[in-house]
């Protein structure tokens, strides 16, 4: 590139030399450097940043990026059984269409007047989630399900004034890491044992550990390992008998068939909305939700934005705005509840579109179909010589396959599956050493009977 010819950058409107000169003249400056007079010379960067030569032409940039992306192989190009908190689900075209609308994609923090659209869309998201969860209060999404779980526990701590959080023993390692780090100054985590045959919360252990200082009992339903926590009602009762809150972490895509936590005693429901019409994006598709009953004791402990509905000066017109804004860090800095900031609003809008497209029938059929496919896959894999299904009982979407009777580690089996075009389930040997050589398989509506049969046949082949 010539150093002599000035570049006019397409993304920088005033980068032509003539415009720059006119504007400098208008503000009475000799040169741009005058604007930086407050920056001491001692910390001025001398020279040019060592970055690659730019790809100024859009066509060159596209070629470069497509070259990089071409080194990836997507789950769509193979047969994938990966889940573990990131779900491969069908994404309706209308979801992608709406999230690509420039008015939503490129907006930010507008007011309820010029950005009424996002306020209404997010209020509707809250409302549809409220129907799914049978709860009256749902937040504008926070970052992800990990954050939702961690914040739910801190909310429980503030509501009860207590200092211990009891956590189910089958929680995933990454989520537990986030929770431990986040609640550390405020709550002590107490792990609850699980029953070896079923994975269910060990109620005896729970009963022995719960105390008058327990702020919350937290469990997942379905669990990280896929089984349904059939002791949910008893756990909620134990929480309430001890003055603690019951916090239930759920996958919202299960709620067409599974009862929402509110129906079996959950006080706070939380989770991730990635499964609701959002692509996996290599882990970039997450958004968190927290839901409670409509009680100011709960509502005033939310850190997130809560959009509410109101009237306007015109009859028949809805207006929207922030509910109880004074509780937020925007209003009160460190005196607010935790903090609020940019998180995952566009995913909230997208999940709303998804729920509206699915409707009640769609959510019911979807949940039922996932359970059937999962049960079928469990049955088929259990028939493969050497394989066992680790946990008894009813599952939703995910299940643990026990490879301990095979003479090869999961890592090697997964390499062999990969060579045959299959992404095998998550290797659990590091995360759950007690399970030995096991893997977490995920089955969703994207899988056909033929896909599952192919998995079983291929496993049989590589285990031979």
């Amino acid at each position: 590139m010539s150093d002599h010819k000035p570049i006019v950058y397409p993304y920088i409107a005033n980068s032509s030399p003539a415009t720059k000169a006119e504007m400098l003249k208008e503000v009475g400056a000799e040169n741009i450097d005058e604007f930086y007079a407050d920056i001491p010379d001692s910390i001025r960067f001398k020279g040019t940043l060592d970055l690659p030569e730019p790809l100024l032409a859009e066509a060159d940039l596209t070629r470069h990026i497509e070259g990089l992306l071409g080194k990836n192989t997507s789950a769509r190009e193979r047969l994938s059984f990966l889940g573990a908190g990131c779900g491969q689900h069908f994404v309706p075209a209308v979801c992608d269409e709406i999230l690509s609308r420039a008015e939503f994609l490129t907006a930010y923090a507008g007011e309820p007047y010029e950005d009424k659209g996002r306020f209404q869309a997010l209020f509707e998201y809250e409302s549809m989630m409220g129907e799914l969860l049978n709860m009256d209060v749902v937040n504008v999404p926070n970052y992800d399900g990990f954050q939702a779980a961690a914040t739910s526990l801190l909310m429980a701590g503030r509501i009860t004034g207590r200092t211990k959080a009891m956590i189910c023993g089958t929680i995933g390692g990454d989520k537990l890491s986030k929770i431990r780090d986040y609640i550390r100054p405020h709550l002590e985590p107490i792990m609850i044992a699980y029953l070896p045959d079923s994975g269910l919360v060990d109620l005896a252990d729970l009963g022995a550990k719960v105390s008058s200082n327990t702020a919350a009992i937290y469990f997942e339903n379905p669990s990280y390992l896929g089984f349904i926590e059939t002791g949910a009602e008893e756990i909620a009762q134990i929480a309430h008998q001890n003055g603690a809150l019951c916090v239930v972490d759920i996958d919202p895509i299960s709620l067409g068939v599974l009862a929402p936590p509110a129906d079996y005693g959950g006080d706070i429901a939380c989770g991730d909305i990635q499964t609701l019409g959002i692509h996996m994006w290599y882990g970039g598709g997450h958004g968190g939700f927290i839901a409670t009953r409509d009680d100011p004791t709960y509502v005033l402990e939310f850190p997130s934005r809560l959009f509410g509905i109101s009237s306007t000066t015109v009859d028949g017109e809805y207006g929207f705005g922030d509910v109880a804004y004074e509780r937020t860090s925007f209003a009160k800095r460190e005196e607010g509840k935790e903090w609020v900031g940019t998180a995952s609003a566009l995913w909230g809008i997208t999940a709303g579109v998804y729920l509206a497209l699915m409707g009640p029938q769609g959510m019911g059929e979807l949940g039922k179909g996932i359970m059937q496919r999962t049960a079928y896959a469990m049955k088929r894999l259990s028939q493969v010589p050497g394989l066992k299904i680790r946990f008894k009982g009813i599952h939703f979407k995910e299940f643990v396959v026990d490879f301990n009777d095979c003479n090869q580690p999961v890592a090697m089996i997964n390499k062999k599956l990969l060579a045959k075009g299959i992404f095998g389930g998550k290797d659990l040997s590091v995360e759950f050493p007690a399970l030995g050589q096991s893997a977490l398989y995920a089955i969703t509506e994207v899988h056909t009977q033929a896909d599952i049969d192919r998995l079983a046949a291929t496993l049989q082949e590589v285990l031979r």
């Binding site: 990026i65 490129t106 907006a107 990990f146 059937q372 992404f423």
Partner: protein, 518 residues
């Protein structure tokens, strides 16, 4: 025909106003928006209706009362709502100061939509994700060069999450030295983003907030009085949200280092200083960038965004896991980091925005980034001159000095003389198709307005925005009622705020509204 008359200034505008019902009111029982693949009969025969075997308490008895709509009706509803929203693509979005509302190139959005990224599962074998790992690794190298820091994590989901991550690393650092108990204070400034104070509070710290000196500069004497053996860290935005660069930043750093504290640079406002001055050169131990601000990824109505945390080599051991590493054969994820603070969010970061930021930097290079900074600053100082020509407006602090990339203005005089408040100017600005923002709370600057014109806007855009402000200011003096009753040309009219703070009336969901509105 006669020539069409010249257009008036400011432009005539009316936002789309579809008078759109709430989505539940559009429900038509029995309608379907999308159909799902049917479960094959082979599966049905093999396993039956599995969900009916759920225990009674865990089985959903009635389907969720979601709206029932045909596909086009869902689409139309949301398309209409989108038209009742302004994004950067539609408006001269200089009115959201501190947020760097720049153009997000369409090509980057288009590239990120590839199934080669959208449909990647984060647990895929590393051999199948070499492209995105390479992008992450390369973006880290860019950010190291731009900041001078030694390592980055791209894991945080946004700017405040990055501040939290830095706070967690501060805590881990002091814990590793056995000083966690002693160091229980974090110092920030009032013109640093509120999340610096709020995230540190979540981390268990007491917050000391430094106010500006009479010239609007962070008060060095106050900082020197605040530091002690209890100081864990300084979290400071520079340039601050006033657009004023702290000229004593090195002395701030020295004072904190002298007592054993760490210095954390909030670089949310880095857009005007790219290639001009770097966090490391000012002596900082950590910094963070907002990829959705400085590095152009779209703001998405408030996320998904992306944050990036930079640290010096001695602090790299505390970074979240995993880091992205590179050897001669491949890119890979490194979880073997025993001193790591652990996980901040699921997986590795907001990959699609990491790709967009990478593409943006690749499209500009070193000279382009410097051009971004210089034009952002030129635009800001140009707009400053135009705004100060408006009767009733002022730019408090640093009299006669230039600003970096934004300005916190005050309408104090206008408000005193007319009774019109800054928020109302924002309501009226909506009538001209623009967005406008006051400032974070508390309003240290009375009747505040914060404008940040970035590099994306043309001289004509800036003239138009200033003309709108001038028009509204004149209305304040001549017909304040027009402003008190604004907006007039927006989607909605003045909203009744009372339900929002009244637990008897607030309705955060439609079901709560149906129950409570009598």
């Amino acid at each position: 025909m006669k020539p069409v008359a010249p257009k008036p200034t400011p432009r005539r505008f009316h936002q789309a106003s579809w008078d759109e019902p709430v989505i539940f009111e559009l429900s038509q029982p029995g309608a379907r928006g999308v159909l799902l693949p049917q479960v094959e009969s082979g599966i049905e025969q093999e396993v039956g209706d599995v969900s009916s075997t759920l225990p009674e308490a865990l089985r959903r008895k009635t389907l969720p009362a979601l709206p029932e709509m045909s596909q086009v009706h869902v689409l139309r509803h949301y398309d209409r709502l989108s038209q009742e929203n302004l994004g950067v693509d539609l408006n001269i979005d200089v009115g959201q100061g501190t947020c760097t509302m720049k153009y997000s190139p369409k090509v980057n959005d288009q590239l990120a939509r590839s199934h080669k990224l959208a449909d990647l599962h984060p647990l895929q074998d590393e051999s199948t994700v070499q492209g995105i790992l390479e992008v992450m690794w390369r973006l880290e190298q860019f950010l190291k060069e731009i900041s001078g820091m030694d390592r980055f994590s791209l894991q945080p989901g946004a700017g405040s999450a990055a501040i939290y991550t830095n706070m967690a690393m501060v805590r881990a650092y002091h814990t590793s030295r056995g000083e966690a108990g002693q160091r229980d204070q974090v110092i920030t400034t009032i013109f640093s983003h509120p999340s610096n104070a709020a995230c540190a509070k979540v981390g268990g710290y007491e917050i000391l907030t430094i106010y500006p000196d009479p010239d609007g500069y962070p008060d060095l004497a106050a900082l020197q009085a605040a530091v002690s053996e209890r100081t864990a860290a300084l979290f400071i935005t520079n340039p601050e949200d006033t657009g004023i660069f702290n000229p004593s930043i090195e002395q701030f750093v020295a004072a904190v280092h002298a007592v054993g504290g760490l210095c954390v640079y909030d670089q949310a406002n880095a857009n005007g200083i790219l290639g001009i001055t770097r966090a490391r050169d000012a002596g900082f131990d950590m910094c963070h960038f907002n990829l959705h601000k400085t590095f152009s990824t779209p703001h998405g109505c408030g996320g998904p965004a992306a944050g990036a945390c930079g640290v010096t080599s001695s602090l790299a051991q505390f970074l979240p896991v995993p880091t992205v590493e590179h050897d001669e054969q491949k890119y890979y994820l490194d979880y073997n980091r025993p001193h790591s603070i652990g996980k901040i969010r699921p997986w590795f970061g907001v990959a699609q925005n990491i790709l967009k930021a990478y593409a943006w930097i690749m499209s500009l290079g070193a000279k382009g980034l410097r051009e971004v900074a210089e034009i952002a600053v030129l635009n800001n100082n140009y707009l400053l001159k135009k705004v100060l020509e408006i009767h009733g407006a002022s730019a408090p602090y640093a009299k006669g000095k230039r600003r970096i990339e934004q300005v916190r203005y005050s309408w104090e005089q206008l408000s005193r003389e007319t009774g019109v408040h800054s928020e109302e100017i924002g309501y009226r600005a909506a009538d001209f198709g623009t967005h406008y923002w006051t400032s974070h709370h508390p309003y240290v600057v009375p009747e505040p307005m914060t404008l940040e014109p970035t590099e994306s806007y043309s001289r004509a855009d800036l003239d138009e925005y200033a003309a709108i402000l001038k028009h509204i200011a004149e209305e304040a003096y001549h017909s304040p009622e027009t402003i008190h009753t604004a907006p007039h040309n927006s989607t909605v009219h003045r909203i009744n705020p009372e339900p929002f703070d009244n637990p008897q009336e607030w309705a955060i969901t439609w079901r709560a509204y149906k129950r409570k509105a009598k």
